[in-house]
């Protein structure tokens, strides 16, 4: 075991993992994230906490992770390279490890122009792949990025993202290979709305043997309304929503039910794709629906390891 987190145990055991994510509140009240933790505690193996997602300021990921850890959840701390340089990130990683936060997901982060402080200076000292490599060096060689020794162990389980729906398509697998080479242990993909395209990507992943090197969790998003489908299609960076999905949501008598139905259908198809080791549910501002989805998808009870 590299970190001994619940997520690592589940994935290493070969079980089909269920992870999900929450966004911290735009404020200082602990109960907001605690309420979400309480709701999701029994329904997932690990819970991601976003790091100023969409470049909108929220409570820090590491502090929110500590609140969840205290409740017995296995948090996944997200780190984006947009806001912090290599010094700040390394010190946060040491602090997080000391507090028992041992799953870390490495991301580029949406550009600051897209958020609520568009005039901010972006940092981008490292990119997401360099971040993965730095964490691996911290863990395996106990060395900082500069080469100096770290005192004590840094037991972390390293995650990364993959977007099979971004361009150029053919290059996406090479980029995943770079992330595996840099040291990623698990991968969370961008939300899948086009299973055929995802399956094609997975085939390329298997051809390079990458499914044997990293655990791939396929991302899903339950859509709440036709408006949300349109918004994601037109404005959310990195998310690909085919027109067909928008039409289905527009035509549905009960949009929420249709959103859940489509999400379950996608999960069912994803389970059958070789090399997919779990799902990652991103229920944006709709965390309440997660227990129902996990139950209906036949993924309960979650294994206790």
């Amino acid at each position: 075991m590299k970190a001994g987190t619940n997520l690592e145990k589940i994935l290493e055991s070969g079980a089909f993992a269920v992870t999900t994510e929450v966004g911290p509140s735009k404020g200082s009240v602990a109960s907001v994230i605690q309420r979400k933790g309480e709701l999701l505690k029994s329904w997932c193996d690990a819970l991601n906490v976003t790091d100023n997602q969409s470049a909108v300021v929220r409570m820090s990921s590491w502090a929110s992770c500590v609140l969840l850890k205290q409740m017995g959840l296995d948090p996944v701390m997200q780190i984006v390279v947009r806001d912090r340089n290599r010094l700040a990130i390394q010190s946060d990683v040491l602090g997080a490890t000391a507090l028992g936060i041992k799953n870390i997901l490495c991301l580029s982060g949406d550009h600051q122009m897209l958020g609520n402080h568009p005039s901010a200076k972006g940092v981008y000292d490292l990119d997401s792949i360099q971040l993965i490599q730095m964490l691996k060096t911290m863990r395996d060689e106990r060395k900082f990025q500069c080469g100096e020794d770290i005192s004590g162990e840094v037991p972390i389980y390293i995650g990364a993202a993959a977007n099979p729906f971004a361009d150029p398509f053919e290059y996406r697998v090479i980029r995943l290979a770079k992330k595996a080479k840099a040291g990623a242990d698990f991968i969370q993909t961008q939300a899948v709305f086009d299973v055929a395209k995802f399956a094609k990507w997975m085939q390329m992943v298997r051809e390079r043997g990458l499914d044997k090197q990293v655990h791939i969790l396929a991302g899903v998003i339950p859509i709440k309304s036709a408006g949300m489908a349109r918004y994601m299609r037109d404005y959310v960076s990195g998310v690909y929503v085919p027109d067909e999905i928008v039409t289905k949501m527009e035509d549905a008598k009960e949009a929420k039910e249709e959103g859940i139905r489509m999400c379950l259908e996608t999960i069912e198809e994803l389970k059958d794709i070789e090399g997919v080791h779990g799902i990652h549910i991103m229920a944006v501002a709709w965390e309440d629906v997660i227990p129902r989805i996990v139950e209906a998808a036949g993924l309960m009870p979650r294994p206790a390891l």
Binding site: Y124, D127, Q130, A162, N163, G238
Partner: protein, 214 residues
């Protein structure tokens, strides 16, 4: 004047690893003034590379390399020689290296680091293509600069926000990494992106503050 410094010879040599025939390009503008890419330096580079067993297929002195129409015209005269060479080594500022990359379907190696624009602009006005980062990486990015042209300065791009060749920041902004991948694909050298590129040395960049003793 754009201020450049020649890269250490060992770095230049290592970037030419596996290549036998090299065509040299020098600049009679700023690089001549900086004594990094004038005729004297180009001849010196030819001598040193030949000593290392490289074949220098020819050279061209351009006044100035960042003048895109002029560079196209000058390289046209060497079209066949360039086509028969493994690569081009360009001794001038980063904008000039990118002008050459845009003018020839050939791997382009930068021979210099651009440390300051000295308050001036290069002649290629349509876009600011060199941010004088002081540690030129155009060698593995097909002569297209991700520091100047990627919104996140990624060295292992593209990020997940690249859609249909455009950056997530604006539909008017081309994704630099899409351009890099397209060009490397065209040159049959996509393998150059397989390795993980290490974090950049920003200490030689003006983004770290005013220049100090280098």
């Amino acid at each position: 004047m754009l201020i450049s410094e020649q890269k250490p010879f060992e770095e230049i040599l290592s970037s030419l690893d596996g290549e036998k025939t090299v065509f040299l390009i020098g600049c009679k503008g700023c690089a001549e003034g900086c004594e990094t890419g004038g005729e004297k330096e180009v001849m010196e580079m030819r001598r040193k590379l030949e000593e290392q067993g490289k074949t220098i297929t020819g050279f061209s002195m351009i006044d100035m390399v960042c003048d895109e129409p002029l560079t196209r015209l000058k390289l046209k005269a060497h079209e066949e020689t360039i086509a028969a060479s493994d690569s081009l080594l360009v001794l001038c500022c980063g904008t000039g290296v990118q002008t050459v990359a845009a003018s020839a379907d050939k791997i382009v190696h930068p021979g210099c680091n651009t440390v300051s624009s000295g308050g001036a602009h290069a002649e290629w006005r349509e876009a600011e293509r060199c941010l004088e980062c002081g540690d030129c990486i155009l060698d593995f990015t097909a002569g297209i600069c991700p520091i100047a042209r990627c919104s996140k300065h990624l060295l292992n791009g593209p990020c997940g926000g690249s859609q249909e060749g455009k950056c997530e920041v604006s539909p008017d902004l081309p994704c630099a990494w899409q351009l890099i991948i397209e060009r490397l694909t065209k040159l049959g050298r996509l393998d150059r992106l397989e390795d993980v590129v290490a974090p950049k040395n920003w200490s030689v960049s003006l983004t770290s503050g005013p220049p100090t003793k280098r």
